[in-house]
Amino acid sequence: MSARDVVLVDAGGTNIGSLRYALQRLGIDAQVSDDGERIRRATHVILPGVGAAGPGMARLRQAGLVDLMRSLEQPVLGVCLGMQLLFEHSQEGDTPCLGVIPGCVVRIPAAAGRRVPHMGWNALQRLREDALFDGLAAPDFVYFVHGYAAPVGASTVASVEHGACWSAIVRQHNFCGMQFHPERSSATGAALLRNFLAS
């Protein structure tokens, strides 16, 4: 694991610090960078994100990282908003996103008894096997905080139920996304990050 060269893409996400500390707890000293060449050299790229889709994409554009992110061939992990930016489009601010994963992100509709934002610990429902689950015993409880979500689609590896079923983990080729916060999801989150870095 120490041979991993992990870069956290600095796109202004306020969870960069939390993710860096979570990786440190796994023995990984990740670099934070918005430099395209540095990101391209990494063995693993993590796109953090907390906030809104519009400003998130704007920052990637300003840093000149949109085409670079799309062209990456190493394992890439988007976390929370970082996962949503991997999709084609977000309803939040009507924002075109990176489009490396098919599908769109929509607002979680409010309904009786369904609080928005979806905030708290919820169980992953595994829809197919994935190396991310190695060594984990279901049910896996992880921590979510989000008001927008991707409906379940062909790339969905695990879903979460909150009124309806939503994508919790997605994977398309080398791009993978987690809607929840693995950096704040206790031992389960640490195991998911470790398994991503083992890929």
């Binding site: 306020t14 969870n15 960069i16 610090g17 939390s18 500390y21 979570a22 440190q24 707890r25 907390v50 906030g51 809104a52 908003l81 409010a110 008894g113 609080r115 928005v116 934002p117 979806h118 905030m119 708290g120 610990w121 919820n122 169980a123 409880f141 921590y143 979510f144 905080v145 989000h146 008001g147 139920e161 909150h162 916060h181 950096e183 704040r184 999801s185 206790s186 031992a187 989150g189 640490a190």
Partner: protein
Amino acid sequence: MLTRRIIPCLDVRDGKVVKGVRFRDAHVVGDIVELALRYCEEGADELVFYDITASPEGRSVDRQWIERVARAIDIPFCVAGGIRDVETARSILHAGADKISVNSPALQRPPLIDELAAAFGVQCVVVGIDSRLDADGEWRVRQYSGDPQKMQALPRRTLDWVVEAQARGAGEIVLNCMDTDGVRTGYDLVQLQAVRAICAVPLVASGGAGTFAHFHAAFVEADVDAALAASVFHTGAIRIPELKSFLAANDVEIRP
């Protein structure tokens, strides 16, 4: 299924965790990181750190302990106290906090909530409300609760403020019922029910927990998303693993 959260609240003064009854005579109960780690290991779902001296003295939260906590723990935590502007909030979130909670400064200048929500998204923005029943039967918000000398009763009705805070971008409401806080006679279920009825975002009950049954009642009767407590956890009167076993055995969805 979304589980209900158990949240120990650590009141911080000068970098130490303190707890006073009804905000008075706060005494030190332990080191921040040590207590935070203990609660993580016991199964706390989230932590809140509330700097009780921040608002009265107008000083902002010391960031060093936030980073120490963020490095050490692997569950979410929220920081409250003295957050008056977007830049202070940003520094706290960058230090590793997952959410920031505003109370008095939002009452003084409600657009602060809008600004925080625009900058970080509603999911980061918690509005804390200190509320007390007045003689005329209305719940009204209180301000400057960190210092009894400076406590002010405001004309603002609690229910009105809950509606306004959500409209401005609160992603979560913490309702601290001051009449029951620190005395362990149970959460104020009537007030929590009234707020729940008009609160579409997550609602956290605060003030009054003394027994397992009090937590159960808050979840089942007032339908709150989370229950916060301090002294019963700090003193060991209630241990989180036993509390969670009790709740699970009584049909409350919790994280095992």
